[in-house]
């Protein structure tokens, strides 16, 4: 099958590659670009392990063809690390509150939590539970994930306040 030229802004950097038009974004990220943070748990849009951020929206990257993201901004969990290489707030809070075990759902969880907190900086527990319901975790029972996200919100808000 002939290949198409794909160009996108990935975690702040212009990247490009050749892929068959039918290639799913998750495979393009993982196989072509070797960005293996986003994982594959189902390839049927149920588990959320492949969640990335496209132009400011959470998207399960197994549901889009690579052609659909041509020219767009894509953020993966790798892009949520601070510039100095230290863990970002959500990443740190997942560690602090034991919000992960096997770590397989974690990149999708953190990427989704990142967007959720952009959309709603002061979520209630219900908001978090509802907003994260597209991401499955088999290990943690979610309780500590919810805690980690609530703590991230607090910390981000405190940082914002301090900056103002």
């Amino acid at each position: 099958m002939s290949k198409m030229h794909v160009k996108l802004n990935l975690n702040g950097e212009e990247v490009e590659g050749l892929a068959e038009p039918r290639t799913l974004l998750i495979h393009f990220l993982r196989e072509n670009l070797k960005v293996t943070g986003p994982h594959i748990g189902c390839e049927t849009s149920h588990c959320g392990a492949c969640t990335v951020d496209i132009d400011g929206k959470s998207v399960k990257s197994c549901t889009v063809f690579v052609g659909q993201v041509n020219g767009k901004d894509v953020t993966t969990v790798e892009g949520l690390v601070n510039d100095d290489g230290s863990l970002g707030i959500i990443q740190e809070m997942f560690r602090e509150h034991h919000g992960l075990q096997c770590g397989f759902c974690t990149p999708g969880m953190i990427t989704r939590a990142h967007r959720l907190l952009q959309e709603n900086p002061n979520p209630t527990e219900k908001d978090i539970r509802f907003g994260m319901a597209g991401n499955l975790c088999r290990c943690t029972g979610y309780q500590n994930i919810v805690k980690a996200i609530a703590a991230s919100a607090d910390m981000m808000n405190a940082q914002k306040e301090a900056a103002e």
């Binding site: 748990g41 149920h46 790798e78 990149p107 088999r138 029972g141 919810v146």
Partner: protein, 806 residues
């Protein structure tokens, strides 16, 4: 400058040893997407394999047409049983003493069975190749019901076994019969039943389900033709055992095989067995000379690898009028699917189902299990479970409730009067186990008090009255469970898998500057071994956990061990870790005594150093001792500081717990909402409370799934009706409740650090607890048993059947 000398407490805290909620070292990688899971592995020239699978549950395979597939761009090979046969690899041994087709050899026995393996340059080309393979099938009659499978004229499923009257576990009495396993005293139990004041009888079904970790199974095989060495990465819960099995079935010498389990995205028993994909990736790599990756998709995972449970447990429980249990009888029909691929120790074809007397002092008991073939996927793995203990716990905890109904007694009280008493430990059960330690009454009372049990019952009575008066359509259920686990398999004298004794191992090397590396025979799948095992070492030898690297999963470097499942890592490898630490400590003591110029017996260990007895200002820290081990010639002591321990546990460990669940049921919609869940666990000595709590949360959520909706279901034609995450229930954050955790601590007397293991307890105890709560809500209306999973539809049907909708 007195305050610069750290206090003992500060020195202890600095170690981050046992008992500390040390943050996990793994998380720094995982939270930024730097894990290294099997599907992340990419090697130069790597090919991708994919299976052609059977759409039928039972059919003859007459022809496989591969020509068109070979024309698909990128497809390099299509492997069938005929290609594997000359290598003797078309069948493989299962862990249960049976054998299993790697690729369909003349027929298929379940929907989704592997028929051909297409090897191509990438996963898309492989999928195209799979599409292009044409297979001619002749359909055969299908049996999905294990009772029908045992009827005289049932179709013969395993023609390869025809005429074989002796199986791996004794006589076979029917062509679809696998084994009968009997434990306890049949005649005595029947006599007790005949004479008892009260006998309650019930069929308890624990439905078929699946561990479905978020990462599916996969492997990457790379045969180096120059060195003759095979490297096999895979989702293996037991990498060393896999190496031995690969060597035995492929004929490749074991030293020429390196098996690596990289990061594993959850296991829960799914990744214990050997699968066709592993074998085919190896063969494909040998054939093509290139590395070959195989990763199953979710549908393949749910259809073909590792189902769990599917036990039909007919039970009778006898008691006095006052509620003292006098006997327990159980006959189980175990549906194993097309091949017996259970992962149990060899001598236990039904695993530890004989722990089914639970937490109770039951003097007489009898258990028989019949294993049966059907046209379903093989497996029968221990899904977050120590070899069928989940089935056993569900059985006894339901039978107790059924008995309570018969006696018209409160189920909490019935449990209390039958618990094994603290002073009875070590306790010998009627079915042959020696329980190591327990204090059930204390745990039970703590749990009942914590939830305000009497108040809950009063509230429930009020709600029932309101319901009857038409003021509410909701019923309240209170679920109780007291479970006893049996984990840490196990003593080599009676536990082996494929003849490999179930010991485990740890090797520790102390570096000259006082940091260390430890390697174990186990493999973490999310349990946080790199964090917790370092804590054991820190406490044992006084080196900060942060200075200890922990490695597992590479058979070229780690000592041999049987892997991680059945909550065995802490009981077995954890013990090996402590013992290896003690060997190092013993040598360190000699070095310290030499450096301090006193006799060995005149120094003693103190947190992170050896001190001269009675003169604590004279000491050598472990750091100093480590350096001395490498730079001093000490008479009679070899240089270096390292040790290895292979630990053969003297007994199993018996964690236990008391769980209470409160839920509200809407009788019109069948919805059940968990209002409260309290979980008290006693896993002996606690290594990392944060990780224990996390394990409990996760296990309870898997229990919630299983009890309330998760099921591998088949129709009459053997079609798997639950092979996607659309149909197979995995709870989201939305339907998962918050859990309250609690603990008591009853150390194991025979374990070097008293730890018992915890990973599976919440699943073992959680399932009966949720299920009992549903049953309890309907108890006033005469319900004694309704089968899981208690999804909305089934609960609605129960309510309807009890006349609650009229």
């Amino acid at each position: 400058m007195k305050d610069e000398v750290p206090t003992t407490e500060e020195r202890v805290a600095n170690l981050k040893g046992m008992g500390s909620s040390r943050k996990r070292v793994e998380d720094v990688r995982f939270t930024q997407g730097r894990g290294n899971y099997v599907d992340d592995i990419k090697l130069d020239g790597m090919l991708f394999g994919d299976f052609v699978r059977s759409p039928y549950a039972h059919a003859r395979v007459t022809t496989i047409h591969t020509e068109e597939a070979m024309k698909v761009p990128g497809v390099l090979a299509v492997i069938t049983a005929a290609d594997l046969e000359p290598l003797g690899l078309h069948w493989m041994p299962t862990l249960a003493g049976d054998k299993q087709m790697v690729l369909a050899d003349g027929k298929v026995l379940f929907q989704g069975q592997e028929v051909a393996f297409v090897v191509a340059t990438d996963r898309y080309a492989a999928a195209d190749g799979v599409e292009a393979v044409e297979v001619d099938y002749e359909e055969l009659p299908v049996v999905v019901d294990p009772f029908k499978a045992m009827e005289p004229d049932a179709p013969v499923l395993r023609e390869d076994l025809e005429g074989q009257t002796e199986g791996a576990h004794g006589p076979r009495r029917h062509h679809n019969h696998i084994f009968t396993w009997e434990q306890g005293d049949k005649d005595a139990t029947e006599a007790v039943m005949a004479e008892a004041d009260v006998v309650a009888e019930e069929m308890i079904y624990y439905h078929r389900t699946h561990p479905s970790p978020l990462e599916t199974c996969g492997s990457v095989a790379s045969m180096d033709k120059v060195t003759g060495k095979l490297t096999l990465w895979g989702t293996f819960q037991a990498p060393h055992a896999i190496r031995t099995v690969v060597s035995l079935i492929s004929g490749i010498a074991e030293h020429n095989i390196r098996v690596i389990s990289p990061d594993i995205g959850g296991g829960f028993g799914n990744k214990v067995g050997a699968y066709a994909g592993y074998v085919c990736s190896v063969v494909a790599s040998i054939v093509t000379g290139k590395p070959v990756k195989w990763v199953e998709d979710r549908m393949e995972n749910l259809m073909s690898t590792a189902f769990a449970r599917d036990y039909w447990m007919q039970g009778k429980i006898a008691a006095t009028k006052e509620g003292k249990i006098t006997g327990l009888w159980c006959h189980t029909t175990a549906d194993h699917g097309g091949f017996d691929a259970c992962a149990d120790p060899t001598k236990f074809p039904a695993g530890f189902m004989n722990i089914c007397t639970g937490s109770y002092d039951i003097p007489t008991a009898y258990l028989a299990v019949d294993g049966v073939y059907t046209n379903k996927a093989p497996g029968g793995v221990a899904y977050r479970c120590s070899f069928r203990v989940t089935e056993a716990a569900y059985f006894i905890e339901r039978m107790i409730e059924v008995l309570a109904i018969k006696l018209n007694m409160d189920a909490a009280e019935l449990r209390r009067i039958n618990f094994i008493k603290k002073e009875q430990f070590p306790y010998n059960s009627a079915l042959g186990w020696e329980y190591d330690s327990g204090d059930y009454h204390t745990a039970w009372d703590k749990a009942l008090n914590a939830v305000g049990y009497d108040d809950l019952r009063a509230e429930q009575a009020q709600q029932l009255e309101d319901f009857k008066a038409g003021k509410t359509r909701r019923l309240m259920g209170i679920g109780l469970t007291h479970f006893t686990e049996i984990v840490g398999a196990g003593p080599v004298k009676n536990c082996d898998i494929l003849g490999l004794g179930m010991f485990d191992s740890c090797e520790i090397r102390i570096h000259p500057t006082g940091s260390a590396i430890a390697r174990l025979g186990t493999i973490s799948q999310g349990q946080g071994h790199a964090t917790t095992f370092a804590q054991i070492i820190a406490s044992e030898i006084g080196i900060p956990a942060d200075d200890i690297t922990l490695e597992e999963g590479d058979t070229d470097t780690a000592p041999y061990g049987l892997g991680t499942y059945g909550s065995r890592s802490t009981p077995v490898a954890g013990a090996a870790t402590a013992m290896a630490g003690r060997k190092i400590k013993a040598k360190a003591q000699m070095i310290a005594a030499y450096l301090l110029e006193v006799h060995d017996d005149d120094v003693e260990f103190d947190v992170d150093r050896f001190v001269v007895k009675g003169a604590p200002e004279r000491f050598k820290t472990m750091k100093e001792i480590a350096f001395a081990a490498y730079n001093q010639a000490i008479p009679g002591v070899e240089p270096g500081l390292e040790a290895v321990s292979y630990y053969d546990p003297p007994n199993m460990t018996y964690p236990f717990g008391a769980y209470i669940c409160v839920l509200d049921i809407d009788v019109d919609t069948g919805e059940a909402e968990v209002r409260k869940f309290y979980a008290l666990d006693d896993c002996g000595t606690r290594i990392n409370p944060m990780i224990i709590e996390g394990q409990v949360h996760g296990g309870l959520t898997e229990a919630l799934a299983i009890a309330m909706g998760q099921e591998i279901a088949y129709d009459e034609m053997g079609n798997n009706k639950s092979a996607t995450l659309m149909d197979f229930f995995i709870p989201t954050s939305w339907e998962t409740p918050n859990y309250e955790t609690d603990h008591t601590t009853t150390p194991s007397p025979h374990h070097p650090i008293g730890a018992k293991g915890v990973g599976e307890s919440p699943n073992v105890g959680g399932v009966p607890c949720f299920s009992n709560a549903v049953h309890d809500a309907f108890r006033p209306f005469g319900l004694t048993q309704s089968h899981m999973p208690h999804d909305h539809w089934r609960i609605w049907k129960t309510a309807n059947g009890l006349g609650l909708h009229s």
